[in-house]
Amino acid sequence: MKLTKTLLASTALTVAAGMTLADGHMASEMTIVSWGGAYSNSQQQAYHNPYAEKTGVEIINDESSAEAVAKLRAMNEAGNVTWDVVDVVAADAIRLCDEGLAMEIDPDEHLAPAPDGTSAADDFGDLLVSDCFIPQIVYSTTFGYRTDMVGDTPPTSVCAVFDTEAYPGKRSLEKRPINNMEWALICDGVPKDEVYDVLETAEGQQQALDKLATIKDDVIWWSAGADTPQLLADGEVVMGSTYNGRLFSVIEEQKQPVAMLWDAQVFDLDGWIIPTGLSDERKARALDYIYFATDTQRLADQAKYISYGPARASSAPLVGQHADLGIDMAPHMPTDPNNAKNTFLYNYEFWADYRDDIDAKFQAWLAQ
């Protein structure tokens, strides 16, 4: 019967094709995990493409950084670590390091020195917040506002977020206590250097939540970095917090009527870790990649594609122009002196100690 033969033949062909596809590449590829979107694209251009060209290693991008900690735990339990290099925020790196899921790095042995001979440890300086963490960028969480919805007096202070009379409309805030609690206290009159002292106490935490409660009805809570840009572009919120690189893209690349409010921006770090449990061959390749991708020139190159500040002191003077738009990137860096007049450094130790407790309180408060 003709149909049967056709079915059998196509079966055989598909099976054969499937088997050949199943094998194939495996020899020289590495999986690099990052956040996706414009950020992954900047890494692709600045690190992956030159590295692949130089060594012939094929790089596979996995966009799973958001659940990196959970997935690395599961991989470790299953004894099957499939990631070679992982991009995580500093707080996650500290956790992974404590749990033994990330490999310790000796900066002077594993990382390239600056062109002028300064050792890597000195070049990164204070940003080496964990033994397992190789900082890559400094980013900040800050506010953007719709220029056409704030009238003649654009906001200049972060406290505009809490001023619903002068700036009516919805605002978007991240659905977690970090940063929101600090901003609430600052706008409730707590001096900047006392914020974490106040936040250690139950009364201080209540004070922050009470301040947030004054605008609770006007807040749209976000959980993905792409939410606030979408809400701003829609005009659904008058102002909202997100990562500064996202706002740069909304303003300069998408030409939306949005402006930055750099006041009280919170600095944070993002960088690489290498998981433990890799074979010697894969570990050597991961280290080789890290050595290449975090040298002075490569970090400066990344700033051509996204407005995050390079983590090395020696990279800052090399930051040039945007690759497509041709505008100077230096004034868009969160670390630029004009933008960094009033900044806030995320306190890793505080949040490592208090995160679970305050998270629980914050979620309970949200549900009220």
Partner: protein, 392 residues
């Protein structure tokens, strides 16, 4: 359809309030969009009641009155919100013109049985409105996605240009992105490699299982059936986590074969169910007749049984294919970045960068799904016709 009941004109006290109620609903929609629901309800009810009264009692001529309403509401829409609103206004005008005269002339009574009470007539139409509302509720999200995928901007937003039907507000750039971006193309290639293999395994194993389980002499039939169908019932995340740890131990995690096997396991229940359903109508004396004439079991299967149950096999296969093609949870666990499928790419894209490319892909997938389901339906009809079950 011939009229069942003679009709007569209805009193003003009946149809004007009904039109007013419908006007209130329409006013609620428009008013909410404009910022004030209550005002919308009031204006909608009054305006529609007045128009219904004037057109039926003062103007009386039906065709000109209805055209006048289309024009009037169209112009009102244009004044309120431009060209797009004018079309919506004209549609409202058409509907209310028709609705007013439909009630006034008593036409609503014509096609229902004469012995129905007013309450039953009301339910007759309410039931249809409810069905229509459910349909709209199910379809709207898909319909909203399609025009947004032609957005010229990189956000999920109906821009003013789009609402004015300005060609500058539309573009195919998100479709272009899908067809040129290597991330999306790799994801598409992976999906296209994984889904057919998974379907093939599902269909082979599922069909064999269904045939075996339909034999009355197999012991523990129900228990075996329950186990085989369990991937459909157990929450996906639990299957996925279990598969992750199991496949990691045996070295299948993060491989092409692993993802295919996982998707095959998910697809098998669909094949079993559809094939079992077609086997109910299968006459086992046919296989005995084939055996009687000297055909072995394999020949009997391919020559006699398979052609008769083929529609069930194919529709089961299509369900298995769509399962694999749409699946995101299991592939996130069992796959690695090398097996990133389309749904996975959409999932990360939705979280990390809200790009209308996702909508373009969604539109393409919807069209593929519609095409596949149409094929299933046509096959079903063909088989019914061949078996003489329907006159078609």
């Amino acid at each position: 359809m011939a009229a069942l009941t003679p009709i007569s004109r209805t009193p003003v006290s009946f149809y004007v309030p009904v039109v007013a109620a419908a006007g209130a609903v329409a006013g609620l929609l428009v008013g909410t969009a404009q910022g004030s629901s209550l005002l919308g309800i009031g204006i909608g009810a009054l305006l529609m009641a007045a128009l219904a009264f004037v057109t039926t009692q003062v103007a009386r001529a039906e065709t000109p009155s209805r055209w006048a309403m289309v024009g009037l509401l169209g112009i009102a829409g244009f004044v309120m919100g431009g060209f797009a609103a004018a079309i919506i206004g004209a549609l409202f005008g058409w509907f209310f013109g028709w609705f007013s005269f439909w009630l006034y002339e008593g036409r609503y009574r014509a096609y229902v049985a004469p012995y129905l009470t007013p309450g039953q007539v009301l339910w007759h139409y309410t039931f249809r409105v409810i069905c229509g509302a459910i349909l709209v509720f199910l379809i709207t999200p898909i319909l909203v996605v399609m025009p947004l995928s032609f957005n010229a901007e990189d956000f999920f937003t109906f821009t003013p240009e789009m609402l004015r039907f300005d060609p500058a507000g539309y573009s195919l750039k998100h479709y272009e992105d899908f067809f040129t971006n290597s991330d999306w193309q790799n994801a598409l290639a992976n999906s296209v490699k994984i889904a057919p293999m998974a379907t093939l395994l599902s269909v082979s194993f599922g069909t064999l299982a269904a045939i075996g389980l339909s034999q009355p002499h197999v012991p523990f039939r129900r228990a075996i059936m329950a186990i085989l169908i369990s991937p459909m019932i157990v929450p996906l995340i639990i299957s996925a986590a279990g598969m992750y740890f199991f496949y990691s131990r045996i070295g299948l995690q993060g491989t092409y074969v692993g993802v295919v096997l996982a998707h095959a396991a998910l697809g098998i229940p669909f094949v079993i169910i559809t094939v079992t359903a077609t086997l109910v109508g299968f006459d086992n004396s046919l296989t005995r007749a084939a055996a009687n004439m000297g055909a072995g079991p394999v020949t009997t299967f391919f020559r006699v049984q398979m052609p008769l149950i083929l529609p069930g096999v194919i529709s089961g296969g299509l369900f298995a294919f769509i399962t694999s093609f749409d699946e995101v949870v299991v592939v996130l666990f069992v796959g690695s970045a090398g097996q990133k499928t389309l749904p996975w790419q959409m999932f990360t894209g939705l979280r990390e960068q809200i790009s209308p490319t996702i909508l373009a892909v969604a539109t393409i997938l919807v069209i593929i799904s519609i095409a596949l389901l149409t094929v299933v339906e046509m096959l079903r009809r063909r088989s019914e016709r061949l078996r003489g079950m329907s006159p078609g």
